[in-house]
């Protein structure tokens, strides 16, 4: 088997495992949700089947046991229990390790297999200490089609019940058809005026759980016969239906489609034959036809959704595309510049068209790289579940804005910082249930993870309703570490900023979760490299909120182009507040100190000419670009401000990786290179 195929299998399996984890966590909340059970089963089934095909025999053998258990769950022969969810989650981790071909986990795998075998033998389960997880109503991701047969008792009118509103209520749950069966209505001679002779065949496609359908009939359940069956349970796997003879003959070219239709027209339809033979009433035939039509509609809709929803493209190809678009943007800028200089109307027209197309292409390409942040959020449910269990805490994770999209690179690099922050919230933020009760809080702590757009940025907030940050402890620790002077007067905001200092931890003891002080400085660094910012808000005994502000994309930024001597530089526009002039007289007034008076406020500035060791004459009037980073203003003195520039970021080669204050470079329209300044780093260096 080629490596390529094995890699393809691994890629698919990782996706299935991610889906499996999400499904299991959801199943824990909604143990009666057959759709979720089906999803877990299908994921296991695919991992096993493909695993065996691509030579991952160990995975296939291991998954077999779990699949068998979930088959029993699917058939209602085994309940969903916490043990089952725990074991399956651990199995999922084991399969991942097997995929990564990690060794030394044989013992764990063996123990899990034994546990599943015990489950199968029925020695572990709901019989002793454990009860099945109580069910709660939930919705399906994909709608199911149900066949509902509702046959009221003859005396239902005598109870004052009118069945028609129930039918309308059902219609409100989804799409489908309602067919009244009138065969039982007798002729007037035998007719009992108070009897209900009508029954109904209903086909309903809905994403509501079966319990919601049952609820519709809750007040008439003693006055009617009711059956509810799922019609299209196997719809997802049911790609290949049994072909009819006619279809095969047409496919083989033995008859044409037209000939077949003509021939079929000459024979009677099955429904007609059955009705003529007196075996069935036309109403029954029509109800069945309606069901067939509804299932067909749902299948077609699903197929359509599947076929247009996505295609799989390797990430490298996307990166290459972005690179190429970047080059194109650069060339297009050169073309625009050249056309402007030549002043040729034809060339100008072409240049404008190229510019428009390039901009569209750029925006489209950037949008391809955008992923919903929910892909990352999903992983944290497991983290919170496992860690809170480990620490004996009760914590619920609520996520909001999972559909918010961010550049895929930002999302990938955001994972670790978010893990650190959430672990801190679990370990230091949320109190133990007993402590929370003593403070009059609910036993279960809440961690709220939310994302929302804010202009060209995304705000990610991690909020907990825990103990909050203790300013006194932070102050003491900061003095101890020599970060601040004994008598320093700092605002709460500045004090909270101390938690990002390397090695800073206020935890009284180090746990396996956190407390070593290696987390938050790494978080800060990562967010800085993503050109984002981080803020902390906290209130004692109420909780803490950490706000990450991140750019939507890393590939292109809006920049302010400036010039120093013959060199060009770009400052990220998001950090720029304003530009002011700086004369020699202004400098004399501050006795040569690098300070500028901004409407009464003294703002320090850095002269880029000095920072980069550029020689030559200073202009009469310099320009100061005022920026704001981390709540502080900082000016950058340049010779000339050129203007806004949409910047395609190119990374610098490894030779420059240790150069502080420069985060990348961009190629300008005329082919020259401009350096992109890292405003944060330059400011910190002062």
């Amino acid at each position: 088997m080629s490596d390529m195929h094995r890699e393809a299998y691994k890629e698919e399996a990782y996706e299935l495992l991610a889906d499996l984890e999400t499904s299991l966590l959801e199943l824990e909340q909604s143990p009666d949700d057959q759709e979720l059970v089906g999803r877990v089963f299908r994921a296991m089934h695919t991992i096993k089947g493909s695993g065996s095909m691509f030579g991952f025999d160990d995975i296939a053998a291991f998954t077999h046991e779990i699949e068998t258990v979930f088959d029993l769950v699917r058939n209602g022969e085994m309940p969903v229990t916490k043990t089952l969810i725990d074991l399956t989650l651990r199995s999922r981790d084991c399969i991942r390790m097997m995929l990564e071909e990690k060794e030394g986990e044989e013992d764990l795998i063996h123990r899990i297999r034994l546990a599943f075998q015990e489950l199968l033998l029925g020695t572990v389960g709901t019989t002793q200490n454990e009860t099945a997880i109580p069910s709660s109503a939930s919705s399906h991701d994909t709608p199911l089609t149900y066949r509902i047969r509702f046959r009221p008792n003859r005396d239902i009118f005598a109870h004052g019940t009118n069945p028609v509103p129930l039918l309308n209520e059902l219609r409100g749950l989804g799409t489908g058809s309602v067919m009244a069966q009138l065969d039982s209505i007798p002729s007037l001679e035998e007719y009992d005026p108070e009897a209900c002779y009508t029954s109904w065949d209903i086909v309903l496609t809905t994403d509501n759980p079966i319990d919601t359908i049952k609820d519709v009939f809750i007040f008439v359940e003693d006055q009617a016969e009711l059956t509810i069956d799922v019609v299209d349970e196997e719809l997802v796997d049911d790609d290949a239906h049994d072909k009819k003879l006619g279809e095969i003959l047409v496919e083989r070219g033995d008859v044409t489609g037209e000939e077949l239709t003509r021939a079929l027209g000459e024979q009677k339809k099955l429904g007609e034959i059955l009705v003529n033979q007196g075996l069935i009433s036309p109403g029954k035939v029509q109800a069945a036809l309606l069901e067939q039509e509804q299932v067909k509609k749902v299948k077609e809709k699903q197929k359509q959704r599947e076929s247009v929803s996505s295609i799989r493209v390797p990430a490298e190809r996307l990166d290459k595309l972005v690179d190429l678009v970047g080059e194109l943007v650069t060339v297009q800028a050169r073309l625009t510049q050249k056309a402007g200089m030549e002043n040729d109307p034809d060339l100008l027209l072409i240049s404008e068209q190229v510019q428009r197309l390039t901009e569209e292409l750029r925006d489209n390409t950037m949008s391809i790289r955008m992923l919903p942040i929910g892909t990352t959020f999903g992983r944290f449910k497991r983290l919170v579940r496992d860690l809170s269990g480990e620490l004996g805490k009760e914590i619920e994770l609520i996520t909001e804005g999972a559909e918010t999209e961010l550049d895929k690179t930002v999302i990938e690099r955001l994972n670790d910082p978010l893990v650190h922050i959430i672990r801190n919230s679990i370990d230091h933020g949320i109190e133990h249930p007993a402590v929370r009760e003593a403070y009059g809080k609910p036993r279960t702590g809440i961690i709220r993870l939310s994302a929302q757009y804010a202009g060209a940025n995304v705000l990610i907030k991690i909020n907990d309703d825990g103990f909050g940050l203790d300013t006194d402890t932070i102050r003491t620790k900061a003095i101890e570490k020599g970060l601040i002077a004994h008598d320093a007067e700092l605002s709460d905001k500045d004090l909270f900023g101390m938690i990002f200092a390397p090695g800073f931890s206020t935890a009284k003891e180090i746990t396996s979760v956190s407390g070593r002080g290696v987390g938050m400085d790494v978080v800060k660094k990562t967010i800085d490299t993503l050109r984002g910012s981080i803020e902390v808000e906290s209130e004692k005994e109420k909780g803490t909120t950490i706000i990450l502000k991140l750019p939507l994309t890393l590939a292109i930024i809006d920049g302010l182009m400036v010039k120093v001597d013959e060199g060009y530089y770009v400052l990220p526009l998001s950090a720029v507040e304003e530009c002011i002039e700086l004369s020699h007289e202004d400098q004399d007034r501050t006795n040569g100190q690098h300070l500028v008076n901004l409407r009464g406020q003294l703002v320090p500035y850095i002269r880029l000419r000095e920072s980069f060791g550029i020689e030559g004459r200073l202009p009469e009037l310099e320009q100061v670009v005022i920026t704001e980073t981390g709540g502080h203003k900082m000016g950058f003195t340049v010779d000339q401000v050129i203007g806004e520039h949409q910047t395609v970021i190119k990374s610098l080669s490894r030779v420059y990786k240790n150069v502080d204050g420069v985060s990348g470079a961009t190629i300008m329209g005329d082919g020259n290179v401009a350096l992109i300044l890292d405003v944060n780093r330059l400011a910190q260096a002062v």
Binding site: F157, N162, V164, S187, L188, P193, C196, T198, Q286
Partner: protein, 117 residues
């Protein structure tokens, strides 16, 4: 109160219905329907102002139609079908492509052809 009027027009029995066509008056409606179905070779149901109508009325009309079919008689709804009545038989799932086994002439009261023109 149910309002039932029987009349004859060129040998066709006409039953005009109005008021409350509900289960409370089903017995009365059944008696009148029997009278008109057994009394004429062709019957037409005409609707006046309907205050209320329920499933029992639909069933009774269906029963009358079946009785007529068994005697090889004609039974049909008049041209004007009030919205309240049409809404009820649509909601109750009565509309169908073809009629029952007793209806070889395809005169079913609820067939799409008959109800929607």
């Amino acid at each position: 109160m149910i309002d039932i009027r029987l009349s004859e027009l060129e040998g066709v029995g006409v039953i005009a219905l109005g008021g409350e066509l509900t289960v409370a008056h089903a017995q009365e409606l059944r008696t009148s329907l029997k009278e008109v179905v057994y009394g004429y070779r062709s019957v037409v149901v005409q609707f006046g102002d309907i205050a209320d109508v329920d499933l029992s009325c639909l069933q009774l009309l269906c029963s009358a139609h079946k009785s007529a079919m068994k005697q090889e008689k004609a039974f049909a709804l008049g041209e004007h079908v009030p919205a309240i009545f049409a809404q009820l038989f649509a909601d109750a799932g009565f509309i169908r492509d073809t009629g029952c086994r007793l209806d070889p002439g395809e005169t079913c009261l609820w067939a799409k052809e008959a109800t929607h023109g």
